[in-house]
């Protein structure tokens, strides 16, 4: 699961029949420097969401084939919003290291 910041939503009317009432988020996944600098994100992705994430929120995005696991019918998804993140604790390096 990668951490990403929600920056927008996608709506569409023509789509695969497996999709019904879904929300699609535009998400900027964090890169290795993002927790420190607040920028340097990876390329944006579109993620399926059924938790109700809003713009500006941080989310956990499950990718690859595991993204399809929560669905009961075969659904073409490769990014699934699996967690709305409340707090992030991050230390870039070990303060005890010599």
């Amino acid at each position: 699961m990668r951490i990403g910041s929600v920056i927008g939503r996608v709506t569409l009317s023509e789509r695969h029949p497996a999709f019904k009432g879904e929300r699609l988020l535009v998400v900027l996944p964090w890169g290795p420097r993002t927790p420190v600098t607040g920028k340097d994100h990876e390329y944006s992705i579109v993620a399926y969401d059924d938790l109700g994430a809003g713009v500006g929120q941080d989310v956990g995005i499950c990718e690859s084939t595991e993204a399809t696991r929560p669905f009961t019918i075969p659904t073409p998804v490769d990014a699934y919003c699996a967690a709305l993140i409340d707090t992030v604790f991050y230390q870039a390096s070990d303060p005890r290291a010599v």
């Binding site: 990668r2 595991e66 929560p70 699996a82 967690a83 992030v88 230390q91």
Partner: protein, 90 residues
């Protein structure tokens, strides 16, 4: 499987039900020079890993689903092993 350092954790109230009660650690994968390489990952922690420990991450979603006891879980990355600290092995 990838080498990574545990650099933190996240908390989440609204999440996929299969993550209930799990520690969600942030692991930063590293390259062969121990430099950060790629996005930090949120990982499951079956071993009880400490902050800043070097670990091996495994992306076997099948075992992750077994571990959280939910065949519909989107879980994928988990801590497979804790690397011995440098100098601890003769």
């Amino acid at each position: 499987m990838r080498l990574a350092y545990i650099r933190g954790y996240v908390t989440s109230t609204v999440k996929h039900p299969s993550f209930a009660g799990q520690r969600l650690l942030i692991a930063q994968p590293v390259d062969r020079e121990d430099k950060p390489d790629g996005s930090p990952q949120i990982v499951l922690d079956p071993l009880g890993t400490a902050l800043h420990e070097k670990v091996i991450l495994c992306s076997d979603g099948s075992w992750a689903r077994d571990y959280v006891k939910d065949p519909r879980s989107p879980a994928r990355w988990w801590v497979m092993g804790i690397v011995d600290p440098e100098g601890s092995v003769a």
